[in-house]
Symmetry: C7
Subunit: 94 residues, 7 copies
């Protein structure tokens, strides 16, 4: 089963361990937005999104830095993914 | 009786059990936005929505992942539906 | 006496009993947005509303589901109405 | 002395007694937006308001329902008026 | 020394005594937006303001009603002025 | 070393002593927006800023009144400057 | 490994020591937005960003003043970077 993101969304797979506790409680020192490294596993079609033309700039396989708390975590077949809007991707790692 | 959504709204039927308590209290660990799997049961016409042109990208029968707390729960003839805007659908499962 | 709504507003008459207490206090379990069934009793002209072109999609007599807390309750000649913007109507019941 | 409203503002004179206490304290049960009946006593010119073209749809003498807490109360020569934006008028009573 | 307001700003001189305490503390009963009478003493050029074309509709000498808490108080040569955006002027008194 | 502001930003040098304590704590009576007199020491190029065309209306040497809490304080070579957006300048003193 | 910023983002390397504690707790006196000196190490392509045309005005090597709390800290190969939107850069130091 695959995730096909809509609009300007991108499906990511994290490269680093999360810094939240097992119970899901976010620690005080982690309250600020934290960047995260991830790999792009699926890219939406872009186009007209909320009245604005969006061109997709990342491709599957890109290593990226993203704003973690902007995305939504999805668990599929036991694997955790994060779905973000492309604009929540800060930079590509090269 | 059927639900015919307006504008860019989509009617969904959940595929997974909710994680709220019976009394409707949301547990602390569930305060964050949680993705949900659902099946599309009705799709609005799209078109000009709030001054922006929206093209509907999902069809009846699609399995989708959506941002649960963005939608509205509706109970009709004993069945629970969720009405979301298309942009609250994160990805289609294939 | 009749209500003639302005712009993209729609006058509704509820089909179901409210779930608030008599004193008007909203119960904790009802804090979330709750859908409501209602009948359309008057429809505004639409047109240019807040700089956006709005086409009215509901007609008098339609049974609709709406986001209750978005509307304004009006009591006229002893009858309670709710005035909502068309975009607060989620779906038409058919 | 007369009030000549600017832009899309409308001057109203209430038809019903207020439900606030004399001291101006709003009672808990009145915290929600409450509709009010009023008579239109002056209408602004409309036109380009905040970058949007607004056509005035009410005329002096109209009985209207408005969202009370959106307006500003003005006392002039001992008479209380409410100045609202036209979009805070929900419906005309006919 | 004179105040030459920028953009769509208007310099006003109050006609009525303020209702704040000397120490500048706003009293609870005054927390809500309060209208104020003032005289226009300077008018900005209008034109393109924040991407929107604004035409100035008040002239020096106009008596106006404005939303007090929207403006900024300025003390110049011992005289107190209020600088508001034109859209915070509700009506002209005639 | 000089400050060359970007976009519609303006670098100011205050003409009046600040009303904050030495430790930087803002006193309760100063919580409201306070106007400040300052001299313009550098002006950004204007042009397209956040999708809107901005024409710079102040020049180096202008004495201006600005909304203090909208700006950012910068200390350079021992001198304190404030960088504001032009729209945070309320009026020019002449 | 290099950071290639998307859209109107800019990668910065701070020139001054941070004023946060080692544990990451922000001290009360530092709660307000604080400007920071940094060097530009990478510049995004600009172009259409969120429906607005953005022209990049800084180049690699520029010393800039930026609003610290607007950016995202990234640690890469043991070096700390800050990724900001160009509009969070207040001025270039010359």
């Amino acid at each position: 089963m695959n995730l096909k993101p809509l609009n300007d969304r991108v499906v990511l797979k994290q490269l680093k361990a999360e810094e939240k506790t097992k119970s899901g409680i976010v620690l005080p020192g982690q309250a600020q937005e934290k960047p995260q490294e991830a790999e792009v596993v699926a890219v939406g079609p872009g186009g007209n999104v909320d009245g604005k033309e969006v061109t997709m700039q990342v491709v599957v396989g890109d290593k990226v830095i993203y704003s973690k708390y902007a995305g939504t975590e999805v668990k599929l077949d036991g694997v955790e993914y994060i779905i973000v809007k492309q604009n929540d991707i800060l930079a590509v790692l090269e």
